[in-house]
Symmetry: C2
Subunit: 226 residues, 2 copies
DNA sequence: TGTCGCAGGATCGTATCCAATATTTCATTC
DNA sequence: GAATGAAATATTGGATACGATCCTGCGACA
């Protein structure tokens, strides 16, 4: 899932392209929470009809990025502090569980994949590419969990993550947070490589919990202010 | 979520109706796993155009009931034993966690709601209404968890459940299984009513685990045979 | 002054029609 | 007879067009 395995000859559907376009706008912050998405505006902007726009919005709703109300269109979903707690608590249950399952059936190839994901993440920090950072951060997490062979749980995690993704961005910006996250990733990888399920699970849990705490407190500050 | 709160004057959209129609067919077993769903066939059957059918299928894909492949249409998703393990393991993590959160903020009204859900479930068994049994079983579970105020996690659970729902039906049929499940529901409610979070969580976990084991072994038999 | 009712425009939902892709059929060749 | 390739058919993806619903603002009435 880091990247869909080699779209050797990629022939995307218009709906998929529109979905990516809107998702990028939301994650990038161009469409803030609460923003009304007008089907026709997007359609005109991209030179397509409203049908693929509608279908894209349906997919984004399933991912939790927008909320659709009948005859009233789509609104970029907003995240309350309570929502963030909700989402991260679920991640805190699933990720440590899955990483244990992953380690139980770990191949050397899997370890190599995680190592590569870790290096990509490092590289993005070094060259200061915040756009990619969020994506590569998640790619590292999925690489860790992928060997668990739990596609359903992974799909669930994907939606949990993408719902909170754009708020993570705020947290990822400061350099200090970045180096902390990087060190944690390295520690996790080290335990993972040694197939120490208990330690890996513990470190991963803490890693996610720290991120959660950071985001939640930030959102609470925002709610108190606004 | 047992029933969307009072569609006082229900004006459903065609897409929603089609989605319900197809979902019922799938859950009821009319469309078995692997069955190809032809948009035009459904459209003609219901006297609507293909657009709402397509959008309904998109929603059903998000719920895990079908898989859509580009230019190849929708196929009713099939559940392997591994998939079932995957889905139920996730439920086993989330439900006990949520029920604890629910008990922590339980009102008398909430308890009354669960009691009503339990009675409805009992009544369906008494009058031998297998169609409703699955729905009311899940209504009981959601009533238990609703007070946790975790809409995101609840949405996740909803998809986890609906993906395995129709296979549960096989297990629910025998009267012996029904009375066992009913007794377990009663025990869970008793601990819940007393606000005993640990015991409720323990019982609920066992309840779900038993159902999981039953389904998985059944699926494995089917895979060995077929 | 505030509430209600009623245009008018904006936006969404659905039907109909056309284009792109996949699948099947059938002839052709080795 | 099996494999390859090309037309025919079936099915989905997308565009245009129309009808339904919602929202806003203005005026009437209490």
């Amino acid at each position: 899932m880091p990247t869909p395995p080699k779209p050797l000859l990629q022939r995307q559907t218009v709906t998929a392209m529109v979905a990516e376009y809107i998702a990028a706008k939301i994650i990038g912050g161009d469409y803030p929470g609460g923003h009304q998405i007008r089907q026709e505006a997007i359609a005109a902007e991209l030179g397509v009809s409203r049908i693929p726009v509608r279908e894209a919005l349906l997919q984004l709703e399933a991912e939790g990025l927008v909320v659709i109300r009948t005859h009233r269109g789509a609104v970029v979903s907003d995240l309350s502090a309570d929502d963030a707690i909700d989402l991260f608590d679920a991640r805190l249950l699933l990720e440590p569980f899955l990483v244990k399952k992953a380690i139980a059936r770990l191949s050397n190839q899997d370890i190599a994949n995680v190592e590569r994901a870790l290096r990509d993440y490092e590289a993005a920090i070094v060259r200061g590419d915040p756009k990619e950072l969020s994506r590569l951060n998640w790619a590292f997490h999925t690489a860790l969990l992928e060997p668990s062979m739990r596609p359903r749980s992974m799909a669930v995690l994907q939606t949990l993550y993408s719902s909170a993704d754009r708020y993570l961005r705020l947290q990822i910006e400061p350099l200090k947070a970045q180096t902390k996250a990087l060190q944690e990733h390295r520690d996790i990888f080290e335990a993972y490589r040694l197939r120490d399920a208990v330690e890996t699970s513990r470190l991963l849990k803490k890693h996610v919990a720290d991120a959660a705490e950071e985001i939640v407190s930030q959102l609470k500050r925002g709610e108190a202010a606004g």
